[in-house]
């Protein structure tokens, strides 16, 4: 397998396996501290801080270790980020922005979107000039890492791993070579045998995408145990299944990202909420924390129905707009079933 180049990816639905097969080390582009003068000039305040930082650092030429940027059609902000970067690359001095690639993965679960996405995935494989063998190797590496993510989540379900620690461990799934990640995680998990969750209420976090584990820490400080989060950085990182190894790799990769990944654009709503509903049905949740700041444009539309559903099952919930506020009181009012 060719190696050595770094590809910056903007979220969970960039097919890691294709980039890996093409010799890239894919790395999730993260928020970082500091001012964002380029973003302040060009971007409206609707963009999340992480996308502002990505735009800013790329315009500034500060991330020149990246050889490629790959952006999926998984959220509108990423679509616009791509258009903005294309325009900067076109109109500003050449060479600053790394080569951009857009992966047109759609999330409406229709036969047309399926065919379109599969065709775009095949096109991406052609564009990156990768062989079937290279893809199979990358799939195997990636699936091993998915297995490790599931082991992390299992440890947490057993009450032996704090939610904040789980989020931090899972981070490696997006930022490291998955082979390295898969080699490193099992030993760390073996060492975690102590119960940390006894009698603490189990909380599920739902809402806008989390940027780190700070909300988890607040819950933990208040005495809660975050058992799951409806978020691709946490409980949903590995998805329900691996990339199938018994199909042609293009179809297998595409289906994994089409059917088993998180995106605000998934439609219909039953599919979008299927994971969350299952978690609630499993009845190991004592309360749900909706993290929905007023800057949110998306989750708030689903909230009234989700609230009604929780009420019908007598599961308490709270809305947190900013880190803090009613959170401690809410956690304090819960009891472990």
């Amino acid at each position: 397998m060719r190696k050595g180049r770094i590809a910056g990816i903007t979220s969970n639905t960039v097919p890691w396996e294709i980039l890996r097969a093409a010799g890239y080390s894919p790395v999730l582009l993260e928020d970082e501290a500091g001012p964002t003068p380029h973003a302040d000039r060009w971007m409206e305040d609707v963009f999340d801080r992480r996308f502002r930082v990505i735009f800013d650092r790329l315009c500034a030429g500060a991330w020149n270790h990246l050889h490629r940027i790959v952006i999926p059609r998984t959220s509108e902000q990423e679509h616009k980020l791509y258009l903005y970067l294309r325009e900067i690359a076109r109109t500003q001095p050449a060479g600053v922005i790394p080569e951009l690639y857009f992966y047109n993965l759609l999330h409406t679960r229709t036969p047309e979107s399926y065919d379109y996405g599969l065709e775009r995935t095949r096109q991406m494989i052609r564009d990156f000039e990768v062989s079937e063998d290279e893809l199979r190797d990358a799939i195997a590496e990636s699936n091993r890492a998915r297995g490790c993510v599931r082991d992390i989540l299992q440890k947490r379900r057993e009450g032996r791993l704090e939610g904040s620690a789980a989020i931090e461990m899972i981070r490696g799934f997006y930022s490291e070579d998955r082979g390295v990640f898969a080699g490193r995680v099992p030993d760390r998990l073996k060492a975690m045998q102590e119960q940390v969750a006894a009698h603490r209420p189990h909380i599920l976090i739902k809402g806008v995408p989390l940027k780190d584990a700070s909300l988890h820490r607040l819950v933990e400080e208040a005495g809660g145990y975050v058992v799951a989060e409806d978020d691709w950085r946490g409980s949903r990182a590995a998805g329900e299944t691996d990339v199938c190894v018994n199909k042609d790799p293009a179809t297998a990769i595409f289906e994994k990202y089409f059917y088993d990944e998180v995106s605000p654009r998934v439609h219909p709503a039953e599919h979008r909420d299927a994971w969350y509903q299952r978690e609630i049905e499993r009845a190991h949740v004592d309360g749900v924390l909706f993290y929905v700041p007023l800057e949110d444009d998306v989750q708030g539309w689903d909230y009234p129905e989700q609230l009604a559903h929780l009420k019908s099952r007598s599961i308490p919930s709270v809305v947190v707009r900013e880190n803090g506020a009613p959170l401690a009181d809410f956690v304090g009012s819960l009891h472990r079933k």
Binding site: E44, V46, L83, L106, H107, Y116, R120, D297, G300, Y303
Partner: protein, 421 residues
């Protein structure tokens, strides 16, 4: 509101009201099906199938102009939707399912059979899902793959070279989605889709937009604009929502005749015109007087908005052998062309130059935040072209966020400065 100067404007308003009244009558009395859809949906398909479609944005504008938006938006918040959520697309929903729906303008919208939207953001599918569930209406969503072929000066290719401009894979995908939409329309209406009828309609749409192009040219060339911007709104939107129909084409022609004749006679909408202003963004539907507020004091006349200007560049398609494919090319990028780089900034600067614009007012939507994208690119491009920009931070429908006096004061100061240049 400033007096209407054009007979065609009065005819357009009356035509629209009559259309709406007959829609209500048909729906209530004969239970005829009708649809509500986003402004960037292929209205032509509905027209070709005789299923009337109400534009969601148009209805939101009507509710807002009647100063009813605060009432319905409060109801939306009371129903548990938080105050930061997008309003332009949800106001019509609120006015049909929340609170006292009979308070809505003209007796309110009857329950639709079909709701239809193109997914240009991550929120609109949720608005339409909620709406469809509340109304028991069928829901059709068109997904929206991104354009990756982004050549400069798109408007020079969109009429003849649309196949290359809009990318084959995106067009084919949109046609497949249209086929699903057509199947729904056939089921709902009991009629069979006829591609020849669509082709004829598309030819009529071309004619209609060619009339609008003549109007645009007359405004560009006249020493002082023969028609105010808000009269352009009324004429253009009434025809666009029924584009290609006999009524729409003849309305566009009447508008063209009147504007061209006024230009030929040297009639100015505002004889005091000293500054030509462009309005970038959706209209301020609850305060249309804003657009004439600076005529007397500064000779500042709003002459340009996207509503008229986009007609010819965004809609005309020549080469209609495959009308569905041509229609797909009109649909796949419409919203992006109007608001986002690279399309919007480059086109708006071109428009500003051809209309001899002295200053631009650029709307950054406040309560409809996701639709604000692209605004900075437009503002910076205008400033680089040496056109002064006044940023208007406001919502297009939510009057609760608008301080009319303060905004007029700030705008006056800006225009003082422009006038001195």
């Amino acid at each position: 509101m400033a007096q209407k100067q054009l007979t065609s404007t009065i005819a357009a308003s009356e035509g629209q009201k009559a259309w709406f009244a007959s829609l209500r009558e048909r729906v209530f009395e004969t239970r005829a099906p009708y649809a509500i859809g986003q402004a960037d949906m292929p209205f032509e398909l509905f027209q070709a199938m005789d299923v009337p479609m109400v534009s969601n944005q148009w209805w939101a504008a009507v509710v807002s102009a009647k100063r009813l938006a605060p009432y319905y938006l409060d109801k939306l918040n009371e129903a548990g939707f938080h105050k930061g959520l997008c309003r332009y697309c949800s106001l019509s929903m609120a006015s049909t399912v929340l609170g006292d729906t009979s308070q809505a303008p003209w007796g309110g919208l009857p329950k639709p059979s079909l709701l239809a939207a193109r997914l240009t953001c991550d929120c609109v599918q949720r608005v339409f899902e909620t709406w469809a569930e509340q109304c028991g209406a069928e829901l059709i969503l068109l997904d929206a793959p991104a354009a990756t072929h982004l050549p400069p000066r798109w408007w020079e290719q969109s009429r003849h070279d649309w196949r290359e401009l809009f990318e084959d894979h995106r067009l084919r995908f949109m046609v497949r989605q249209f086929e699903r939409l057509i199947a729904s329309l056939e089921r709902i209406s009991g009629r069979k889709f006829d591609p020849d009828r669509l082709r004829t309609l598309m030819e009529q749409v071309n004619r209609q937009e060619e009339y609008f192009e003549e109007v645009r040219l007359a405004i560009c060339n006249a020493p002082k604009t023969p028609v105010r911007m808000h009269e352009q709104f009324t004429n253009v939107m009434a025809a666009q929502w029924q584009r290609g129909s006999d009524w729409a084409v003849s309305q566009a022609k009447a508008f063209r005749d009147e504007v061209v004749s006024r230009a030929e006679q040297g009639i100015a909408a505002c004889p005091n015109e000293r500054l030509r202003i462009m309005w970038v963004g959706a209209g301020l539907w609850y305060d249309l007087d804003f657009y004439t507020a600076f005529e007397e004091s500064h000779g500042a006349v709003f002459v340009w908005s996207m509503y008229l200007a986009f007609g010819p560049d965004g809609y005309i398609r020549y080469g209609l052998a495959d009308p569905l494919l041509a229609l797909a090319s009109r649909t796949v990028s419409m919203n992006e062309q109007l608001h986002n780089p690279p399309w919007a900034n480059e086109w708006i600067v071109e428009q500003a130059r051809s209309h001899r614009i002295d200053a631009a007012f650029v709307l950054t939507p406040l309560g409809t935040r996701p639709s604000a994208t692209g605004t900075r690119f437009v503002e910076i491009a205008l400033e680089e072209a040496e056109i002064p920009v006044f940023s208007v931070h406001a919502d297009m429908v939510d009057a609760r966020l608008w301080d009319a006096e303060e905004m007029r004061r700030d705008a006056s100061r800006f225009l003082d400065h422009v006038g001195r240049r």
